[in-house]
């Protein structure tokens, strides 16, 4: 775009400096992930002896074998994480879109009042204690899978993202459908939603990230090991290094022989498999995420 022949020496130095800054920051972002990946494939004793590093120290798959076949906890947490992400995204999209669409229909007299009803939740919140009492004593959702799905399913921010998108769809489409005898729910489901796929994808993707990385609600509301999410499992492993050791089955213990259980390796391997799907899907989804950031920054 800007012609290169006008680049003076100073310009070229500047481009070099800018390139260096970006490349270095990119490497800064990559390095911790790389170190953890390399270490997860390392032999535990070598790791402790020589320290973490950029390269695999004595290639060893024991940690991965242990988390997949030595204990049920990790696969179980994977299942919980996948299920809560799936149902969570479904609930988010259904609740958010159905709430946001009527706010864009000009014949709905109370639409601004309802919008304010949602706005107010962005300004003021009850905080941890009332929420904790509500969830545990009023809704009785302690140790209930639903606590991982429902409370995060609707927020005002997403409502306004969707409302803005719906508002850009010409009203003439729904008006002509109305003349043809379609009721509003039908218009919403078969005209508006199919046209709103881009915003559904954006909100759905960000919601999926939120559900996939959820551990806060597990920390607060779940004691039952069977309902732990992957991220929570990782947090327990981080704070209590032998957390999974007690749940290893006898065969896995026997097969280890005299070797001690690789607690650091297990922690790293669990972290790696939890971010695996994100890193693998990231190149394909990146542009949708970037689009989502820009939509959100233009108007919240």
């Amino acid at each position: 775009m800007r012609s290169n022949r006008l680049n003076t020496f100073a310009d070229r130095v500047l481009i070099g400096v800018c390139t260096a800054i970006c490349v270095l920051f990119g490497l800064f972002c990559l390095t911790p992930l790389w170190v953890a990946l390399a270490s997860s494939f390392s032999n535990e004793n070598a790791l402790i002896r020589e320290g973490y590093g950029l390269w695999v120290r004595s290639f060893d798959l024991t940690s991965y074998k242990l988390i997949f076949s030595g204990t049920d906890d990790v696969l179980n947490a994977y299942g919980v994480t996948i299920a809560s992400t799936f149902f969570g995204v479904l609930a988010t999209l259904m609740l958010t879109s159905s709430f946001a669409y009527p706010l864009t229909v000009s014949t709905v007299k109370y639409r601004n009042k309802i919008a304010f009803f949602a706005y107010a939740t962005m300004l003021f919140n009850g905080g941890l204690v009332p929420n904790y009492i509500l969830t545990t004593r009023f809704l009785h959702m302690k140790n209930n899978f639903l606590v991982l799905v429902i409370p995060a399913a609707l927020n005002a921010y997403n409502v306004f993202l969707m409302r803005n998108y719906f508002a850009s769809i010409p009203q003439s489409l729904s008006e002509s459908a109305k003349i043809d005898g379609a009721n509003d729910i039908r218009i919403y489901a078969s005209i508006i939603l199919p046209l709103a796929k881009p915003i559904l994808a954006t909100v759905g993707l960000f919601a999926a990230m939120g559900y996939w990385n959820e551990w806060y609600r597990v920390l607060l509301y779940i004691d039952n090991r069977k309902l732990f999410t992957l991220q929570y499992l990782i947090m327990r492993l981080q704070q209590q290094v032998d957390f999974l050791t007690s749940s290893l089955n006898p065969q896995a213990r026997a097969s280890l022989g005299p070797v001690t259980v690789p607690t650091i390796g297990i922690r790293l391997a669990t972290a790696m498999i939890s971010i695996g799907p994100i890193v693998l899907l990231y190149p394909f989804l990146q542009r949708y995420f970037i689009k989502g950031v820009m939509i959100g920054s233009v108007k919240g």
Binding site: V35, V105, N125, G126, P130, L154, W215, Y282, F289, I290
Partner: protein, 323 residues
């Protein structure tokens, strides 16, 4: 039909408003039906907890009716207890200090990265660098905690290995409170810088190319173009983002701090924020009075800052205001 209409207009004087309301609801019944799940959701998950803040004013007894809300009224004694303890100053100061550091370091880094990315001429390198910067945004704090052990642990951590290789003495990061504000800033930049960079970069790509062309004709170097065109054009975006972040300055990032630091008492003096304090008071000490009064204190301050930040944004740029 005609009779009905007459009836409605004659009743308008007394029960008219209710009638209008019902009429409106029935005319758009399907649309109101669509909003109903959301309204119920907000009522339960957002409005009930607001009412529940009343807990801060009672001597909480879980056995009392209404989920303990009918406990004896205690006035402001819960608040008195919190504000006379020395904790409130240190956790409020930590929350403010950490958030201020996050906001300032984030803004500077993001602007530098966005401007640098924009100047890069090698397309593939630019794309890869941007992808790598944005990736950590999707990695949770719990995984980052695992990664940071690999970097900061005393015996095997990468950083201490490097320090020792240069003949220095290993730092015991997990027992040295004074290094944590800096570590948290670095980790925050690692995770969050790419996100803000995307926003600044999109602002830059929105700048009219003719301005640059005119500058080139006038003989402006690249550096002058950055200094006199790109950076000034980012001012309003930066102002918006900073003001919005300042709106949330009383909210501690519980997910970050708890995942990275946990309940480690050695690091509390610099890392304990309002949110981790409230969590500890609730879950570890089961002190409902203390935790709910601190929570209310935070909600009120949060409300004031959000509303004033928004008013400020509105004054600067009507379209960027949150509400």
């Amino acid at each position: 039909m005609a009779d009905r209409r007459k009836e409605s207009s004659s009743r308008k004087l007394n029960g008219g408003r209710l009638k209008d309301f019902l009429k409106e609801i029935s005319r758009n019944r399907y649309l109101y039906l669509l909003t109903l799940p959301g309204i119920i959701f907000f009522l339960i998950f957002n409005y009930l907890p607001m009412a529940g803040l009343y807990i801060a004013f009672v001597r909480y007894n879980p056995l009392k009716p209404f989920f303990g809300l009918a406990s004896p009224f205690a006035g402001l004694s819960n608040f008195a207890f919190f504000f006379t303890s020395r904790n409130w100053l240190s956790i409020t100061a930590n929350t403010l200090r950490l958030n201020a550091m996050f906001i300032a370091s984030g803004m500077i880094t993001q602007i530098i990265l966005a401007v640098s990315l924009n100047e890069m001429t090698m397309k593939w390198t630019k794309k890869t660098a941007q992808s790598l910067m944005f990736l950590p945004n999707f990695i949770s704090w719990t995984v980052i905690a695992v990664l940071s052990t690999a970097l900061f642990s005393t015996d095997a951590g990468v950083i201490n290995k490097v320090i020792q290789a240069f003949g220095g003495e290993a730092i015991n990061f997990y027992q040295t409170a004074s290094v944590w504000p800096a570590l948290l800033v670095i980790l925050r930049l690692w995770k969050g810088a790419g996100f803000g960079t995307v926003i600044y970069l999109s602002t830059i790509s929105g700048i009219d190319q003719e301005i640059y062309e005119a500058a080139i004709i006038d003989g402006a170097s690249r550096w002058e173009r950055i200094r006199r065109i790109t950076v000034p054009m980012l001012k309003s975006t930066a102002a918006m983002l900073v003001i919005m972040n300042v709106g949330g300055i009383f909210l501690g990032d519980f997910g970050m701090i708890y995942a990275l630091v946990g309940d480690n008492p050695m690091l509390r003096s610099t890392t304990d924020v309002i949110d981790t304090f409230v969590y500890r008071a609730l879950r570890l000490n089961n002190d409902i009075g203390m935790s709910s009064s601190v929570g209310l204190f935070q909600s009120v301050l949060g409300f004031v800052t959000v509303v004033s930040a928004n008013a400020l944004v509105k004054r600067l740029d009507q379209d960027s205001a949150l509400f």
